[in-house]
């Protein structure tokens, strides 16, 4: 089993490269190139490195990733998130914890047009955190609602992590998207349940806003701010499930529609904002695509040296009970989620985990959802949680520890939903099997 030792050495080298501060994409490439050279007996073995890197990113299906990033940047520049949040806050008036419930709802709706959690948290968070604090919500409650709500962005379709997972697992992205809907709604409802509960049990700190009155007319007027988002949701998800477009094509239609909405209807697209959109799109896309390229190269090194097939075979032969395997895999993912950025985790672990999943007789679509729920947790667990940093960027006076205190209950809720979907796979697989 020399392969297992080689594999261990490769992961050790990867860890070392990451810890001395080499960016994830280049750490993966460094270890990949190093391993191929050493194990292949010289630089001649590097013949497939360039073709592997090139073909890993020049995939038509993958174009959905930069397109969703672009769309996120356009939406963020359009101010659509603040309008949506304002409308929902008006509608939720009178509900205990109304502003945090509105945050979850706004995130849920925004998640149906946005492919990333950071974009979702960014679009809703900036405005909603300030509102909640203005009306006397505790910092923990306000920050927790935004950081956790944002994570819905990757579970509710569209979802960049699910696209990347689908490409690695060679599963239908359309099916993965639809599989996320029920778990996503369960997740959102659990958040809301918790928020109502916490508001009731903390009535002494009841938000001042409840003393104001909101008329039915105001509530009806608020609805009109939801219309543009509803149109966008139809353009992105409706076209996929009515057989007009593939998920990739739907992303392009979404870009066009959000451009029209923010340019022609909101009139928010100034020249400066356009430049900003281009910059954000380039930064986000390159970051993701380089990680994918790096991971594919690392995966190629693991395969050509027989490390990956050996690991998968050894694990499959261990003959552990399904529940133990499920728990082990999830603990591993949660552990990695504490320290690493989510997409890196998916691209590094999926190529090894998927053959194991298939060998266990599990549904790869279901496992995609399991993976993404884990990634939602990763986004808000310390020390490295992207959504924690997004929220801190908005409220710089709140220490990170208080933000973390606010998000921890959500980690527990997510773990509960994870377990639920783990025990009842139908929650994920029912819709993909029964659409039309």
């Amino acid at each position: 089993m020399i392969e297992l030792w080689i594999g261990l050495a490769m992961f050790g080298a990867l860890l070392a490269a990451l810890l001395i501060g080499i960016p994830v994409a280049f750490s993966l490439m460094a270890v990949g190139i190093g391993a191929i050279t050493i194990l292949g007996g010289g630089v001649d073995a590097l013949g497939l490195v360039a073709p592997t890197l090139w073909s890993s990113v020049t995939s038509f299906t993958l174009t959905a990733v930069p397109l969703f990033i672009l769309m996120g940047a356009i939406i963020s520049a359009s101010g659509m998130g603040a309008r949506l949040y304002g409308a929902l806050a008006t509608l939720m008036h009178g509900v205990p914890g109304g502003l945090s419930v509105a945050t979850t709802l706004a995130c849920t709706i925004m998640a149906a047009v946005s492919g990333s959690s950071v974009a979702t948290a960014g679009a809703i968070g900036r405005f909603s955190v300030l509102e909640m604090r203005r009306f006397g919500y505790r910092d923990e409650v306000a920050c927790g609602a935004v950081a956790a709500g944002g994570t819905l962005g990757i579970l509710i379709p569209p979802s960049i992590p699910l696209i990347v997972y689908g490409i690695i697992a060679q599963e239908s992205i359309g099916a993965l998207f639809i599989a996320g809907i029920i778990p996503g709604i369960i997740m959102a409802l659990s958040f809301i349940g918790y928020q109502v509960w916490i508001a009731r049990s903390e009535q002494a700190r009841a938000p001042a806003r409840d003393s104001e009155r909101v008329s039915t007319r105001e509530r009806l007027m608020a609805l009109k701010h939801i219309v543009p988002v509803a149109i966008l949701i139809w353009v992105i998800l409706g076209t996929i499930y009515q057989g007009i477009a593939t998920p990739t094509e739907a992303a392009a239609l979404g870009v066009l529609a959000s451009l029209v909405l923010s340019g022609a209807i909101y009139r928010e697209l100034t020249r400066e904002k356009l430049v900003l959109i281009l910059r954000e799109t380039a930064k986000g896309s390159v970051m993701v695509l380089m990680i994918i390229a790096g991971a594919m190269l690392f995966g190629y090194a693991m395969t050509t040296s027989s490390v990956a097939p050996t690991i998968s075979r050894v694990v499959a032969e261990l003959d552990v009970p399904a529940w133990a395997a499920f728990i082990t895999i999830n603990l591993l993912l949660i552990f990695l989620g504490c320290f690493m950025e989510t997409l890196s985790i998916i691209v590094i672990t999926a190529p090894i985990l998927i053959p194991i999943i298939v060998a266990m007789g599990w549904d790869p679509i279901w496992f995609g959802i399991i993976m993404v729920i884990n990634m939602e947790m990763a986004l808000i667990t310390p020390p490295v949680g992207l959504n924690l940093f997004v929220v801190q960027g908005v409220v710089e006076d709140v220490p990170l520890t208080r933000i973390i205190a606010g998000t921890l209950p959500y980690v527990i809720i997510m773990a509960a939903v994870l377990l639920l979907v783990g025990v009842f796979p139908d929650l994920a697989t029912y819709l993909p099997q029964h659409i039309r």
Binding site: M29, A50, L70, E249, K283, F389
Partner: protein, 173 residues
Amino acid sequence: MTQAASRPTKRRRPLDALITLSGLSAGLATFLIGLFVAYDVVARTVFLMTNSWVTEITTYLMGYITFVGAAFALREGSHVSVDLLVCRAPPRARRVMMWLADAIMVLVVATLAWLSFGFFMEAWDSQEMSDTLLSVRLWKPYLVFFIGMAWLLLVLILQIGERRLTNKQGSHD
């Protein structure tokens, strides 16, 4: 979470503008993908038209975004890294780590530039074409790969050099 972006100094202004331009062009490439693909869907749905070029051209644009945009992302510090340890290490250990990280980065990117050049040369020599109705000579898109990696190498070396210079000046003050 991310590497700190180094501030440009005066004498680097023109080069800096070029880096920004290469980044904006990668953003623009994404826009083009969106327009092409959306046009393809509309053409197919409304006019029953097929555009054989859309799928292929957009994948080349993906190559452009990734490899030509890499230098811009480096300057902006948007290649994610795990800086847990680096941030907490004592100054001396930190210097060693950064030195090591820089050396490995240069080595990797130089290797990528060399390999992508070989990739391009092979397609140039064989005049291999894409296996599609468009039949593009593959050296053309592959050249973009090489240019991107060479550009990344240049920007990386300048960035490291500049940071060392600033650090040295800092320690003299």
